[in-house]
């Protein structure tokens, strides 16, 4: 059970690695953005994992829930905000990519830099 308990953290670490790697090593700008959202998703997972209480339920009082143990609401609130921040960044990034494509005709970092050098 202990292994399973720590598995979440490992997945967080590996997802972080995959996303981060895509951001640094990929040349295609859209791929970089996708990597960035994976990278952020890993952090969301960390926070939500931290907030889980074993045997708890979602922190919404309801007659069906009764007097049960509730999971921690705070990380959920933080991640709600962070998800919104993430999608905002993505939208702005995509806007910039579309403009880059219009100005340069490509969205590959290397090719853009070559065009600039000329």
């Amino acid at each position: 059970m202990n292994f399973l308990g720590i598995y979440y953290y490992w997945v967080f670490a590996i997802l972080l690695m995959v996303g981060f790697y895509a951001v640094i090593a990929k040349l295609n700008l859209i791929k970089k953005l996708i990597g960035l959202s994976l990278f952020q998703a890993a952090v969301f997972l960390l926070y939500i994992t931290v907030g889980k209480v074993e045997g708890g339920t979602a922190p919404i009082f309801a007659s069906a829930a009764g007097e049960r143990l509730f999971s921690n609401p705070l990380p959920q609130v933080l991640i709600l905000t962070a998800i919104v921040v993430g999608i905002s960044t993505t939208a702005l990034g995509l806007g910039i990519i579309v403009r880059i494509k219009e100005e340069y005709g490509t969205i590959e970092e290397q090719e853009i830099q070559e065009i600039d050098r000329q």
């Binding site: 339920t57 919404i60 309801a62 069906a64």
Partner: protein
């Protein structure tokens, strides 16, 4: 018994994911996405009863609706692309 259904759903999600990874055509992948979407709806409905919180069915409802929009957006994307190809071909032949 909810457990049995949940396991069946999870395994099916894995199978659909495999289909999405294997392709081979983009339509197969869209099919897989759609499948995983509906499986998520089912999973969430079953899980909310498993957890004894039927008030979370709202989530499943939201998924069912959003998933459909996603598929339509993909179709629109195909249409736009087909048209782009056509216009590209036209300009080339001219």
């Amino acid at each position: 018994m909810y457990y049995a259904v949940t396991i069946a759903l999870l395994v099916t999600m894995a199978l659909a994911l495999l289909r999405a990874l294997l392709g081979p055509s983009v339509y197969d992948r869209v099919l897989a996405v759609n499948m995983i979407g509906t499986k998520t709806v089912l999973l969430l409905s079953v899980l909310s009863f498993l957890f004894g919180r039927p008030d979370f069915l709202d989530l499943a409802l939201a998924y069912a609706l959003i998933n459909f929009i996603g598929v339509l957006a993909v179709l629109e994307f195909f249409r736009v692309r087909a048209e782009q190809d056509k216009s590209d071909a036209n300009t080339e032949s001219r």
